[in-house]
């Protein structure tokens, strides 16, 4: 449609297609209508938004420079603990605490990125994983600081009993993370990330400095994870080292890959129906514990074997190329999907 329309320009600046905006608006008004205005459904929505935000930030590393940050949950936990401890000890307001947690996690991401610079692929993933295991061990054993497995009580962010403000905050954070990641990846930097991810030697020969880009990528992705960790701490109100467990990373990883690697929006889009289905299975079939996670793993295996591109690739191939110009505008925006 009209490329000079200010609305289109704004949408393009925010990296949204009209379809994306409508999906977002639906998510925003969803809790106002039954049955989603019940508190337990709202909690599912929040956990879905939380996983979605993490999946976007995770995909920023996994989908672009092809390194699975296997200690991601621990990095998120570091952000959460930092924020909680700052609030507890020096009474810093959680809003700044969350940012501080993000900064510290970003710093750790920088360190991990620096240490794994010479390693590739699976070695880097393992090293990040060992960092995660070490962090989780520290959180368990430094009882004087974190209260260990007993759990640390954290002040919640809002004074109300309702979960509604948390939902809106989480959704806003998700959108912010998406926009930040998208801004980074649609500049030259995104191209450089992809080049490094596909073939480091070739990227280096064409003049891309892998050190700089890998460090930037790791730092940013971990900082965003830490920020979300702060939200986790102040939303649940209790922190245990369990939140840093590898299985939490696997949860995020599964959503990110089923959603589609390298797409950023795929993970966020798939998280809502996916988490809902899982919670539904878990709560309706209580006599079959573990069934929901079994399905989870099966789905991951099936997607990896039969459709490695995930939901995003499916959407891009079959839905996103309509004949109708109106539909095309709706799905791809005024500037085309290439953006």
């Amino acid at each position: 449609m009209d490329q000079n329309n200010p609305v289109n320009k704004l949408l393009d600046l925010l990296c949204f297609t009209p379809a994306g905006v409508i999906a977002l608006v639906v998510l925003f008004v969803l809790p106002l209508f039954p049955p989603f205005n019940q508190e337990y459904l709202l909690r599912w929505l929040i956990s879905a938004a939380f996983i979605a935000a993490l999946a976007v930030a995770f995909d920023f590393t996994a989908g672009f420079i092809s390194i699975v940050n296997f200690g991601y949950a621990a990095i998120m936990g570091l952000g959460g603990y930092t924020s909680a401890i700052l609030a507890d000890r020096i009474g810093l307001t959680p809003w700044f605490g969350m940012l501080a947690g993000g900064l510290l996690s970003g710093f750790l991401g920088f360190v991990i990125g620096a240490v794994t610079l010479r390693l590739r692929g699976i070695f880097a993933a393992c090293l990040a994983w060992f960092f995660g295991l070490a962090l989780m061990g520290l959180a368990t054993k430094m009882v004087w600081l974190t209260r260990g497995p007993l759990g640390m009580r954290v002040d919640r962010l809002f004074e109300t009993q309702s979960n509604l403000p948390y939902y809106y905050l989480c959704l806003t954070m998700m959108v912010a993370i998406y926009i930040i990641c998208k801004w980074c990846t649609r500049t030259k930097m995104g191209l450089a990330f992809k080049a490094i991810g596909q073939n480091m030697e070739a990227a280096r020969t064409s003049g891309i400095n892998p050190i700089f880009y890998r460090l930037v990528n790791f730092t940013l992705s971990c900082a965003l994870g830490g920020w979300m960790g702060g939200f986790y701490a102040h939303y649940y109100g209790i922190l245990t080292p369990d939140m840093m467990h590898t299985s939490k990373t696997v949860e995020v990883l599964a959503v990110a890959y089923i959603g589609g690697r390298g797409s950023l929006w795929g993970g966020a889009a798939i998280a809502f129906p996916f988490i809902f289905a899982m919670e539904l299975v878990r709560s309706s079939l209580t006599n079959l514990p573990g069934l929901n996670l079994l399905l989870y793993g099966l789905l991951l295996i099936l997607v990896m074997i039969y459709y490695p591109g995930g939901f995003a690739e499916f959407f891009d191939t079959y839905v996103r190329k309509p004949k109708n110009r109106m539909m095309d505008y709706f799905l791809n925006g005024a500037y085309g999907a290439a953006k």
Partner: protein
């Protein structure tokens, strides 16, 4: 003449001791001896028993990576399958033993259990190769390492939760395999189960080494690990070799799970700790290096025992992982190196 030979051997030893591998091995031995003198023989015994079983798990992991190029995240689950099988096989045998304490099953029963676990582990290995990995291999070969890694993550989640779904989440354990007085060596009492499990591990490692070095099949496996296309060209059936590798490595993990049932009862996520430890070993020794994994297993076991001994339990993830990170910074390919992606070659 003799002097010359002696001199040459000495030269080789001194050269070896200046490499990273030599330094690491010597350092391990020195630290182990020092700790034993300081705290008593049980440090050494614990290290050797833990290391022996860890060697089995890590060897399987290294083998799968070396031959099939799969970074296996579900390896702990084969350990879990081994211990689960052992529980269900040993419980009736144990009942029979309590009825007839004089039967020959008193000694043979546990061995039958472990063999059964080995067979089940091998079968599950074949099943996962046929159902999962060969399917991925048929469809895509690009970015294989990362994709297969994610596949094994999914497999691990499935196996853990299948256990919970079908067998329940409770602890299914036994008190002991072999009854009787503990054996005493150097004033240290070792329970018969521990002594037997170490003996078993040693036997399995030696048999495995002979198999890989001197049999045609073993050589074929090594050939595939070095060069897949070359192996195909000289007429090695790739499919069969890959399946065999998978079942071998899974049965190794299952043997470890079964023989450690008296220490680790079977429950859904029992495999996680051996998995972490085996990954420590494999990364420390160099991915795909099977003999290195055996040495590395003892190093990691020593690290773990010393951490628990001197710093306290619960730190046994922090200290080893921190040390391994430091080692990796200076030697990214592992102590024993894996530039040559061989299985048993150096």
């Amino acid at each position: 003449m003799v002097e010359q030979v002696e001199k040459r051997i000495w030269e080789r030893v001194s050269k070896w001791s200046r490499t990273a591998a030599g330094m690491a091995v010597i350092l391990t031995v020195v630290v182990a001896v020092a700790a034993t003198l300081d705290r008593g023989g049980y440090v050494l015994v614990n290290t050797v028993v833990t290391g022996g079983m860890l060697a089995l798990v890590a060897m399987g992991l290294a083998l799968v990576f070396g031959v099939m190029n799969i970074p296996m995240f579900a390896h702990g689950e084969y350990f879990m399958i081994g211990s689960l099988t052992a529980y269900y096989v040993f419980t009736p045998i144990n009942n029979y033993i309590t009825m007839n304490p004089d039967s020959s099953l008193v000694f043979l029963g546990p061995l039958i259990t472990i063999v059964a676990a080995m067979i089940v582990g091998a079968l599950v290995g074949v099943a996962s190769e046929v159902l999962v990995f060969s399917q991925l291999r048929k469809r895509s070969r690009e970015n294989w390492v990362m994709n297969s890694f994610l596949l094994t993550v999914g497999l691990s989640v499935v196996l853990i939760n299948a256990h919970q779904l079908f067998f329940g989440a409770d602890f299914k354990g036994i008190t002991r395999y072999w009854a009787g007085m503990p054996i005493s060596i150097m004033d240290v009492f070792i329970s018969r189960d521990r002594a037997m499990s170490f003996t078993l591990a040693a036997i399995v490692v030696v048999v495995f080494w002979f198999f890989m070095t001197y049999t045609r099949t073993g050589r074929a496996i090594r050939a595939v690990s070095q060069d897949e296309n070359g192996a195909l060209m000289v007429g090695i059936g790739l499919k069969g070799i890959l399946m065999l590798t998978m079942s071998l490595s899974c049965s190794l993990a299952a043997i470890a799970g079964a023989s450690l049932l008296f220490m680790y009862p079977a429950y859904p996520s029992v495999g996680l700790e051996p998995l972490y430890m085996a990954w420590f070993v494999v990364i420390l020794a160099g991915l795909g290096n099977v003999l290195g994994a055996v040495m590395g297993a003892f190093m990691v076991a020593l690290l773990k025992v010393l951490t628990i001994e001197y710093i306290g339990s619960g730190w046994d993830f922090v200290v080893p992982s921190a040390l391994i990170i430091v080692v990796l910074i200076f030697k990214p390919s592992g102590i024993f190196g894996s530039e040559v992606r061989g299985v048993l070659d150096k």
